[in-house]
């Protein structure tokens, strides 16, 4: 987390300022901090307004659930799981009108949110995880976890180190049972793809997947499909080259979609990757409230990795005026951090991310990635050579 100023400390600061500032009753109420658990068991600290927003969100989630149930009643259970619909967007031209209509309905539905109860099923099918799992024997995951039990590798040592440090204090994740499940998923994956092994950041992603998916095995397959199909290649492998590419693409997109901010930040000598790297590697699991992060993931698993750009750009778009007034790097970071941590209403974010940022096709983004790849590779290569020359000097 960048600038990990805990909310509790902020609250203490606010409280200590009250006698000096003598705020209005309204401000006093807004500064009163309460602690509560969100839908996924994370402890959230916020003011009274935040609590109200979260209650509204709960109500919206219930309403959205009714929309999904009504569609099931109307179109039949699992209507959205037919391959022609779930893959409909890509196959548009060859489809019947009703299928196309269903695909459009589904896209809109998903942007409005998948009810938590349906998330495991919908994610598993629409992301391609189900298909991936179906290509290997039924016992794959059990065999894998049994085969790697007791093995010690650099990856397993790092995983063990990070287990108690992954969302510490969470009522399930931070228990022996939670640690064991997270360990099996991460260790299993480190053996499935030794190029990735274990990359810090995946601990948060896998932990959140475990909370959403019904079974540990499904969480494992979601992690696999995410790394192997949804995200750009090599995001988490040895020098994070995929992540470097995404950062360059993001900078270009910011210049295009939010040119005033991009110019202002450049003048401050502020490189957006300083903060955006964590967003892209943890898929916002460390920066957004849980339901908001999962709403982003709803769309991510259906529409692909371009969603990450939409969301990251939205943070800047939402705070454009404030950001343009900053004079210092620290202020930029504080604004972004405060914004992300307080996005309790997912719709506030997603409306900006999709309606205000405008469309970006996966195709355009792929082209931009291709354009950036050579520069990233050259830079990483040059760096490696410089580091190697350091070693030669040692001898």
């Amino acid at each position: 987390m960048y600038g990990a100023q805990s909310k509790r400390d902020l609250a203490l600061e606010f409280q200590s300022q009250i006698p000096i500032l003598r705020p209005s009753i309204h401000a006093r109420r807004a500064n009163l901090t309460v602690k509560f658990q969100d839908l996924y068991g994370f402890t959230v600290e916020g003011n009274v307004d935040d609590v109200n927003v979260l209650n509204e969100v709960r109500e919206k989630v219930r309403k959205q659930g009714r929309v999904w149930w009504a569609l099931e009643a109307n179109k039949g259970a699992n209507w959205y799981l037919e391959p022609s619909i779930s893959e409909g967007i890509a196959l548009k031209s060859s489809l019947k009108f009703s299928t196309l209509a269903n695909a459009i309905t589904l896209k809109r539905l998903i942007r409005n949110g998948i009810p938590p109860l349906l998330r495991p099923k919908v994610w598993f099918s629409l992301s391609g995880a189900a298909k991936k799992k179906s290509t290997v024997p039924e016992s794959y995951y059990n065999d894998l976890t049994k085969a790697v039990e007791g093995k010690v590798t650099p990856a397993t040592r790092q995983i063990d180190h990070d287990l108690p440090r992954t969302f510490p204090g969470h009522p399930w994740l931070d228990t022996p049972e939670g640690h064991a499940a997270l360990r099996r998923v991460l260790v299993g994956y480190s053996f499935r793809d030794s190029d990735v092994g274990y990359c810090q950041g995946l601990n948060y992603v896998a932990a959140l997947l475990l909370l959403v998916m019904k079974t540990e095995e499904d969480a494992f397959w979601m992690l696999a499909v995410l790394l192997e199909n949804v995200l750009v290649n090599d995001c988490y492998t040895n020098n994070l080259s995929g992540c470097h590419v995404e950062q360059r693409v993001f900078k270009d997109l910011l210049a295009k979609k939010c040119p005033r901010i991009a110019t202002h930040l450049e003048a401050l000598d502020f490189d957006v990757s300083l903060v955006a790297t964590e967003w892209f590697l943890c898929l916002f699991s460390k920066s957004l409230p849980s339901e908001t992060a999962l709403r982003v993931w709803d769309v991510l698993f259906y529409e692909g990795a371009k969603v990450l750009f939409h969301v990251a750009l939205a943070f800047f778009k939402m705070k454009e005026d404030e950001l343009l007034l900053t004079h210092h790097v620290g202020d930029v970071i504080n604004i972004l951090q405060k914004t992300t941590h307080h996005l309790f209403d997912p719709d506030d974010l997603l409306t900006v991310a999709f309606d205000k940022i405008g469309s970006m096709t996966t195709n355009t983004i792929s082209k931009q990635r291709k354009k950036q790849e050579p520069a990233v590779m050259a830079e990483l290569d040059q760096r490696l050579r410089r580091l190697n020359s350091l070693k030669l000097d040692d001898k």
Binding site: M1, Y2, G3, A4, Q5, S6, D9, E13, Q17, Q158, H161, D162, P164, R165, T166, F167, P168, C199, Q200, G201, N203, Y204, Y236, T237, N238, N239, L240, S241, H244, D269, D271, S273, L274, V275, T277, E278, L281, C282, K286, H327, H328, V329, G330, I333, L380, R383, R386, L387, L390
Partner: protein, 199 residues
């Protein structure tokens, strides 16, 4: 607190070192006076600010606390570029973290900033029974590389203020005196940044 008429130094500081050596814990101890047994791993980097007032100057730190895992190494230049101070951290109970610390120092020296204030921090000195890196080894390496050496424990708070105080002192010496601009004064008025950690 900032003393009126004092010179103000805005200094970028970066923390480097292997994963789990306690970089974030050192900073949190310095900035907030707190310590968590299970500190979440940092991804990319975390940013903090803190102000230290000396008799000769007020130092405003912009602190970049970086991710320690080896593969995050490729991101590090973005964070140490333009830094006035670098804190290289290792864990006294793990020899391989000392090896990694040496590599960081070599890399920093290649950056060619001869004014860079560098500290070699032997952290977790509360783990004395498990010590793998002797004090002399650390001291000698630091001396050979023009850095200052200090043993700390973020857990017990031992030498944490001393570490940052020493860095501030060296920065004050390295930075020529210059008049304070409007911009800096404006920022000094920002109450939140004035929580001083000394004492």
């Amino acid at each position: 607190m900032a003393r009126p008429g004092n010179k103000i130094i805005q200094a970028k500081m970066v923390l480097l070192g292997d994963m789990g050596t306690g970089k974030t814990s050192l900073v949190l101890r310095f900035v907030k006076g707190q310590f968590l047994d299970h500190q979440e791993p940092t991804i990319g980097a975390a940013f903090f600010t803190q102000i230290l007032s000396l008799t000769e100057a007020t130092v405003k730190f912009d602190i970049w606390d970086t991710a320690g895992q080896e593969r995050y190494h490729s991101l590090a230049p973005m964070y140490y570029r333009g830094a006035a101070a670098a804190v290289v951290v290792y864990d006294i109970s793990k020899m391989d973290t000392f090896t990694r610390a040496k590599k960081w120092v070599e890399e920093l020296q290649r950056q060619g900033n001869s004014n860079l204030v560098m500290a070699l921090v032997a952290n977790k000195c509360d783990l004395e029974p498990k010590r793998e890196v002797e004090t002399e080894e650390g001291e000698q390496f630091a001396q050979e590389n023009g850095m200052f050496y200090i043993e700390t424990s973020a857990k017990t708070a031992e030498n944490i203020n001393e570490l940052f105080y020493e860095i501030a002192k060296r920065l004050a010496k390295a930075f020529p005196s210059k008049p304070t601009g409007m911009n800096l004064n404006n920022e000094v008025r920002d109450r939140r940044k004035l929580s001083c950690c000394l004492g």
